[in-house]
């Protein structure tokens, strides 16, 4: 049941890296041009450096700001723990500030194990996704008013229940993706607590 990345998703990841690389190249070109023209390049260097840093490391900040520009509220909240084989309920809330076209929307549920190894001052994290399940979400093509929905997510029987130790974790999460044309995607994530109970039928 592991979901492979579709061609579109691969293209999006490649495009994101290409965009960052392009910004770095443009920054270097501006610096080079300033040096050739004989300008005092101190402030240009500082500005280009900050721009490159934000482009490379501040992607989440940029995406958050972009999301805030079109959605005044975007929440995904779990209503409570769910047993294995049962159903988890999530509350999805979206409040657009202006009409927002939505190309597609999907909900992904995944379970992962996460282990943190401490050795002196260094720390290493190991992650393994055990299973991923996804389904399209029925969202209007144009989001022009507030949308509040309860999403029912069936919990598979063959995943481990949630466990949070100090260094070792077994966790299940749900992510909602909204594909918005010419705009960074909206991505909302919440954890679902899976109880060590099995429901049959």
């Amino acid at each position: 049941m592991n979901a492979k990345k579709t061609d579109g998703e691969v293209a999006k990841v490649v495009g994101r890296f290409a965009a960052k690389f392009a910004v770095v190249l443009v920054g270097l070109a501006v610096l080079g041009a300033a040096a050739i023209a004989g300008y005092d390049s101190t402030w240009i260097m500082v500005g280009a450096g900050v721009a490159m840093f934000v482009a490379v490391y501040g992607w989440k900040l940029i995406r958050g700001a972009a999301r805030g520009a079109i959605l005044s509220e975007a929440t995904l909240v779990s209503e409570g723990p769910a047993p294995l084989g049962g159903v988890a309920h999530l509350r999805l809330g979206l409040s657009p500030t202006r009409p927002v076209p939505v190309t597609s929307a999907k909900l992904t549920f995944y379970t992962q194990e996460r282990a943190i190894y401490d050795a002196g001052t260094s720390q290493r994290t190991y992650k393994e996704v055990i299973g991923t399940w996804e389904t399209p979400l029925d969202v209007p093509a144009v989001l022009d008013k507030d949308l509040y929905r309860t999403v029912r997510v069936p919990i598979p029987l063959d995943i481990p229940p949630t466990f949070h130790g100090s260094k070792n974790h077994l966790e299940s999460k749900c992510t909602v993706y909204l594909d918005i044309p010419n705009w960074p995607d909206v991505e909302l994530e919440t954890e679902i607590v899976v109880l060590p109970e099995v429901v049959h039928g």
Binding site: G86, L137, R152, F163, L195, E197
Partner: protein, 140 residues
């Protein structure tokens, strides 16, 4: 030394929230047991794997002070926490439940013995199931 201590568990599979029962037998006369300061029996989940290892205890340790006069049989009973964790063998995280018996002997290597058992999810009352479902028409 561990073969002097025999840990017997009644059931090798226990549900989360259930009870694990058993007995510890001290099989042979050993001078070291006469010098025993304290006997400890602990039920715990050993969480290990690629990350730093840790333990989750099921209740308090069962402690018995004083020397051990063999033959001795010590019954134990521990309640597994309702939220587990359940036994799990993943790639990076492994959870093994065990009963550990440790004898504190002054100025000697403490004899100890462990016995493993599995914790599985408990059966719950039926809950309304279903496929992926997004109720329509609930937009505000």
């Amino acid at each position: 030394m561990a073969d002097l201590i025999d840990v017997r568990i009644e059931t090798v599979q226990v549900e989360a929230g259930g009870e694990v029962k058993g007995q510890v037998y001290f099989l042979d006369e050993v001078a070291m047991l006469d010098r025993c300061k304290q006997l400890q029996i602990e039920c715990r989940a050993h969480v290990h794997g690629s990350g730093s290892s840790e333990h989750v205890a099921a209740g308090d340790k069962l402690v018995r002070d004083g020397p051990i006069k063999v033959p001795l049989r010590v019954p134990f009973s521990f309640r597994i926490p309702t939220r587990g964790p359940i036994s799990f063998q993943g790639r990076y995280v492994k959870i093994d439940w065990e009963i550990e018996v440790r004898i504190d002997v002054p100025w000697a290597i403490d004899p100890k013995a462990t016995a493993a058992f599995d914790v599985v999810p408990r059966r719950a009352a039926a809950q309304a199931g279903g496929d992926w479902e997004v109720p329509s028409g609930s937009a505000a």
